[in-house]
Amino acid sequence: MRFFLCALGIGFLLTGCGTNNGPRKKLVAFSQCNNSEPYRAAQNARMKKLFGAQPDVELAIADAQQDNSKQIAQIEAFIRQKPALLIVAPNERAPLTEVMGRAYKAGIPVICLERDIVEPNYTSYIRSDNREIGRMAGQYIVDYLKKKYGAPRGNIVQLRGLLGVEGEINRYEGAQEVLSKYPEIRTVHEAVADWIQAKARDRMTEALRAQPKIDVVYGHNDPMAVGAYLAAKDLGREKEMIFLGVDGLSGPGGGIEKVRDGILAATFVYPLCVDKAVEIGTRILREPNFRPEKVYTINSVMVTPENAASIEKAAE
């Protein structure tokens, strides 16, 4: 009996914490694959800020905690609520395809954010291009080494993210596309650090022990590049090489700040895609005759100490 009463109590608590007051607002549902990555947190913050400026929109964000089944269940719960707009940042391609198709077929406008799914079960897909970022990083390495040695040669270390993930594959292969043209630029050490700074620090320590001379460290995200920097600093070798990252998040602890602080030589902004998503989403909400394109690609920007401050400012 007491269990029953306690449950009731929780129920009233629940009814209290909703936002069901006033006239019905337009519900924008955002299914985020994993809140705990900084990139995702930045997406959430940006989306809250932009939709927050629209008083008749209620934004609901669900966190799938990097679990496909959880994300499917969350989208199913959203479908029941018939939102005016559904934005999904899919955790993985195949698992989310079917459930997004169900939402799409139910007549809910669906924006697929950043990651692709297997079939085009969406109104619009807003993407950025990891392969292009890989190419930009590769080109930066080539230019830097040319300037350093007068010819494109040198030793580089690459720190890779979680294997098998699209971002990891393309950031790697995009760079390889460029670097493979220069046989004297050698990747002397490659290690997998699963996107995590602490792991990157350990893997880099091993690289430093094995390699007497390193010119460039290319981390496939900023935290890994920073981890590598810390490892080199431990051994007093951080001046010997430069560190490149990817993601270029703004705000404290983000990659842009690390560039400004001189820790990273450069980072490549992996666009949040949120600004575009909100722009397209808002038009879907408010312009009945708007016909969005199927795919929007957002270009990356290279952040260097010279332009760091201005890019940071623009992102606010």
């Binding site: 909703g18 499917i72 609520q81 018939k82 993985e92 698992p95």
Partner: protein, 321 residues
């Protein structure tokens, strides 16, 4: 006594359902979203995978054991299913291929469970340690088998896709869970084996003095855990259209939570399948209503924590009175 206890957790479930009805938002036509048939069946489908694992976990916990390896075995089973079902044209047609995939995934998972049970009972190492080791090892095995890559099951009309589309149906998923629940209920309640499971968990030493086949019962219990996790893995693979070596992380904890909320004691000997089903439903309904109300996922975790402790604390109190 046990009937009374069942009643208490059922009452808890009733309370949570009532809360869900009261707290549910309304659809634009004024109907209660929580009570929509589609939503209720969503809940059942969503909890089936954990529910199936929790059935066998109940047996394991009744013997005063624990199986931490289920999350990894689930991942392994999804990978085996995915690898076999996506093979280009096997002899015997699509149906045979799908059946083979399901059969092998289940058998291999059961085998891993049996290995757990054998090590636990023959070498007399604590189940926590043995299954902790296989949780790590089997995860590695799954990743090694797939070279870290997901095995996507397509959406076309090949064997893989038709397997996924068939198994993925709500009726098939929920039906499998329901059938297994009934079978496990009957085994525990009506068979000698079920009696042995409870007796061993209650007092293993006394079981030895009564001449019970302790070793084989333990091996059987962990084998069942592997087998049911294998079945859950097949369903997971179909639902997600992929074999995924990173699937099922922390599922062992979700399954244990369902069992514990259902009133089964981690000390072994006391508990029931009915309780576990109720425990699974409590988590399922709770999660659903929190999502329907778009409660922040961090708050969701805190609410769940409170419910787990509350459920167990109150059942304990009522037992002591």
């Amino acid at each position: 006594m046990s009937r009374l206890r069942k009643l208490k957790s059922v009452l808890g479930l009733a309370g949570i359902i009532l809360v869900a009805i009261l707290a549910s938002p309304q659809a634009s036509d004024g109907s209660n979203i929580f009570l929509q048939a589609g939503n209720l069946t969503d809940v059942l489908r969503q909890m089936s995978v954990i529910g199936i694992i929790a059935l066998a976990m109940t047996y394991v916990i009744l013997t005063a054991g624990i199986d931490l390896s289920v999350g990894s075995i689930l991942a392994f089973a999804t990978c085996v299913t995915g690898m076999i079902v996506t093979r280009p044209a096997a002899p015997g047609g699509r149906f045979t291929q799908a059946a083979l995939a399901v059969g092998i995934a289940m058998a291999a998972s059961a085998l891993l469970g049996a290995a757990n049970g054998a090590v636990i009972s023959v070498f007399r190492i604590q189940p926590f340690i043995v299954t902790l080791a296989s949780m790590i090892g089997v995860r590695g095995l799954a990743k090694w088998l797939t070279r870290n890559e997901n095995i996507d099951i397509g959406f076309g009309s090949d064997a893989a896709a038709s397997f996924a589309n068939f198994v993925n149906q709500k009726a098939v998923v929920v039906g499998t869970f329901a059938a297994l629940a009934v079978i496990f209920w009957i085994i525990l309640d009506r068979t000698v084996f079920g009696r042995y499971v409870r007796a061993i968990g209650d007092n293993e030493k006394a079981g030895r003095y009564s001449g019970l086949p302790i070793r084989s019962v333990k091996i059987a219990v962990y084998t069942l855990s592997g087998l049911l996790t294998g079945i859950a893995g097949v369903i997971y693979a179909a639902e997600n259209h992929q074999g995924n070596p990173n699937a099922g992380i922390a599922y062992e904890l979700d399954a244990i939570a369902a069992v514990v909320i259902g009133g089964t004691s981690l000390m072994g000997g006391s508990g029931s399948i009915a309780g576990t089903i109720v425990g699974t439903l409590i988590i399922g309904v709770l999660t659903n209503i929190l999502r329907l109300r778009n409660v922040d996922s961090n708050v969701e975790m805190m609410v769940k924590a409170v419910i787990i402790v509350l459920a167990v604390a109150i059942q304990k109190n009522e037992k002591a009175e």
